[in-house]
Subunit: 139 residues, 4 copies
């Protein structure tokens, strides 16, 4: 598996009238963690787009266990539990002070800008092979 | 079942560098459809909060089939396929010009502001019973 | 002058912990009103981009007088008080139930995708000339 | 004056079809910088709300000079150039790689949750007095 954790501080703009972070914003936090995972792999997302690869979200799931509030310091952990084939599957855990606030997952496929499916870049697959281990990657 | 459809026009603010609507915004569109479903039932969401009931999202799933773009006129249909018990389950379809762009679902539970689970208000259950039919509610 | 008014219903996603609409969202509502003004002129914004014209925001000002809350039905009026030269100047008023909640303005310049300044399209200038009057355009 | 700088990395969710950060998001970045300024002063914003003080935005201005793009690392500097009286005035500069992307300002007033104007907390005024200097506060 490959794993990376990101720090998120909840913005006021991300809260709602219930006094908690709006549930849609967790998807943006998943994005932040995903981008930092690709950085850690040595395959930053901006590099994909420069080479004509886009990586849209094909599906998302999230379960909300406990609310996050303004100014909470969150740790968002993203895990790749399976090596990517046509699709990339990622799992997420959002924690605050050791408590699990939410879990989720996303799936992605490489595409060109016109939306045509592409195979993952060879270099990306290589980097995953190198980073892959039974012990977690420390990022 | 109970069903309602809402009109959404994609805002520039909702798009991203890929030239399509950012996937997180579909959750906000689900919210818009959900709010209009409650209106159609005669149980507007603002009424819940005035009586101390909050209805947070407990889980969400979305599948993205085709992209939405700036200025697209979307129809977001929300369906309650089962009468609510402790939880409310809602399903969503996002369409544009007859093509299905995305599907999704959310689950919700009534809570007070402190996060304590509450039974659905009796009046809400009554309104659902009255609106329920095998044929769709036209809203 | 040219004027157009748009209906906005405040989304839960747009509110914050203070129980009011987050101030940044007014800029998105200005966008909605601006897009509908261009529609009313017969120069929809999507047409600009198809022809290679982009119309970024160069500056924005907003004054917040009274809060908007979830589910409020807002009227956002956008006014072009001066015919555009190099820049387009637009003024905005956000109202709810006859009360003025906010005012603002934006300025814009036509550019190509690389950010090079362009003269406004002739057709756009023509449409403004035709629509211009001392009496308001009813949209 | 009092000054603080914050690091922002542009999120994909914050970009738009033009391939740049949507202009409304700068207001959220101003918020991030403002929150960190209050931290640096020893007066974190969460402390205000616990004591019943809210600090809504009364006005905002922004000028956009150069675009920010996905993944850009921004430095957002916030400056208090005048000691607050009834209102707090803050100025902002957004930079990337030494280039100035945008400038702006916000004004704020302390209020209770009902929107009634309050004098700034004495402790807040004291902390500003202590931090104030002709040389910049290093944060």
């Amino acid at each position: 598996m490959i794993r990376s954790s990101s720090q998120i501080r909840v913005r006021y703009a991300e809260t709602d009238t219930m006094g908690v972070a709006y549930h849609g914003n967790y998807l943006t936090w998943f994005e932040v963690a995903r981008v930092e995972l690709f950085d850690a792999l040595g395959a930053p997302y901006t590099g994909f787009e420069k080479e004509g690869y886009f990586l849209p979200v094909l599906s998302v799931e999230a379960r909300y266990l406990l609310p996050a509030r303004f100014d909470d310091r969150l740790v968002v952990t993203v895990m790749m539990l399976q090596k990517p084939r046509a699709r990339i599957q990622l799992d997420y855990i959002v924690e605050c002070g050791g408590r699990k606030l939410a879990t989720g997952n996303t799936s992605h496929g490489f595409m060109d800008l016109a939306g045509k499916a592409l195979r993952p870049p060879d270099r990306f697959i290589d980097l995953i092979e190198r980073a892959w281990c039974d012990v977690d990657v420390v990022v």
